[in-house]
Symmetry: C2
Subunit: 218 residues, 2 copies
DNA sequence: ACCAAGTGTTACTTGCGGTAACCACAGTCT
DNA sequence: AGACTGTGGTTACCGCAAGTAACACTTGGT
């Protein structure tokens, strides 16, 4: 019996099927936003709901798989910017710009990635319901953790360096995200200007700037 | 005829009823999280769904009303920290600490406020579905706008000061939010330490810090 | 006494996540 | 050949939550 070969063949077939489904889901999410229904996704893929559930378990599973694809892609781009041969300021600006360009190019995808929606905690935990934290989108967490690691590796922050680097990683990512989200809505200025303003902020201009006329400044 | 008086009386009665409903909704959201059902909220208030809908239109309306209460409360606390008579660094730290203390004290509320969930856009806009931005929780936007205004009022940033202040406002709020969210989950350090690390970040320590051994640093 | 308006209810519709049961066809074993 | 098994597919259903329609009860003004 050729069970091993045929099993292998079937497995790769299933994987490519999975890719097709993800691409269909991608199209629908891009069109309908993050609240796209499973029915719509199934229809786009030319099949029906139960197949989706066979492949991804539940909606959270599909969304997690989808998010992972995009998050990975974005992370690769960001790492490239972070690793460029240039001085620190230039690299910070280039990283900010890479992120902002990405969300500018595909706002729907970005919007989907940031949507906490169904956190899909496997723990129903009927005790005291207080599961507290874990609200943020996984993308933010991943980016923050990643950046924290990069900072810890490369910047010397004295004692407790590693912890501070993590804090900064999450903080900087949050800054980038919130500013980008706001900018994407109102478009109050060019991308370059936003990038340089944020870099200025990180470069301590808030501390250096003088007070305005009257009263002690912020 | 006493129509004017009675109308007035009824109106205030309706308002106090509304407050009661909001308090009940508050309890339920605190207990069940942001996905609390309208049925549950109605039950907690001792009434049934249609009344809720009469008062708030739809779920988004109720949630918006609820969010406004908490956002206002938090904003008042933050403004107090922002207006304290102290130097800039102290005030920044105190503002960060106020925010973090608030989310630490009532994580469920905080979680609810940050949940975009149903953005409740009144515009179905079937044309080109691309409504783009507007993903973030209203709380973040409001805080960012507010802080930007405060910065613009009090700090002298040279030409284009106002625009940069807005950018910084949203950026700083995002930093605070993301770092706080992460910290709330993992609790890797004390609140004081988080506050001072974030303030250090804003004070330009990233620019000043030296590279680690080998290679150009981040 | 009667009308109007506001407060409340039950019972329904619609739509979505998720699942059970069933169908059809490949290849395999005897 | 013919029964056996597993895999990709479907229809039809359940449960549940948002939102609504239509109907009842009080209450104050005329």
């Amino acid at each position: 019996m050729e069970t091993a070969r045929s099993a292998e063949r079937q497995r790769t077939a299933a994987e490519s099927r999975r890719r097709e489904l993800l691409e269909a889901a991608d199209r629908v999410v891009l069109r309908d936003g993050p609240q796209a229904s499973m029915n719509a996704i199934a229809a786009e893929a030319g099949i029906t709901k139960p197949i989706l559930y066979r492949h991804f378990g539940d909606k959270g599973g599909l969304y997690r798989a989808l998010a992972k694809r995009h998050t990975d892609a974005l992370l690769i781009a960001l790492r490239a910017a972070l690793d460029a041969p240039a001085d620190r300021r230039e690299r910070v600006e280039s990283t900010l710009d890479t992120y902002l360009a990405a969300i500018e190019a595909r706002p729907q995808v970005y919007r989907f990635l940031m949507h906490p929606s169904d956190n899909a905690d496997a723990a129903p935990s009927p005790e005291q319901g207080f599961d507290v934290g874990r609200h943020s989108a996984p993308l933010l967490r991943r980016l923050g953790e990643e950046l924290g690691q990069v900072i810890a590796e490369r910047v010397d922050l004295g004692p407790d360096s590693e912890q501070m680097a993590r804090i900064w990683g999450h903080g900087i990512v949050g800054m980038m995200h919130a500013a980008g989200d706001w900018w994407l809505g109102d478009r109050p200025c060019s991308r370059e200007r936003l990038v340089s303003s944020l870099a200025d902020l990180l470069w301590g201009r808030l501390a250096e700037a003088g007070d305005r006329q009257g009263g002690p400044g912020f």
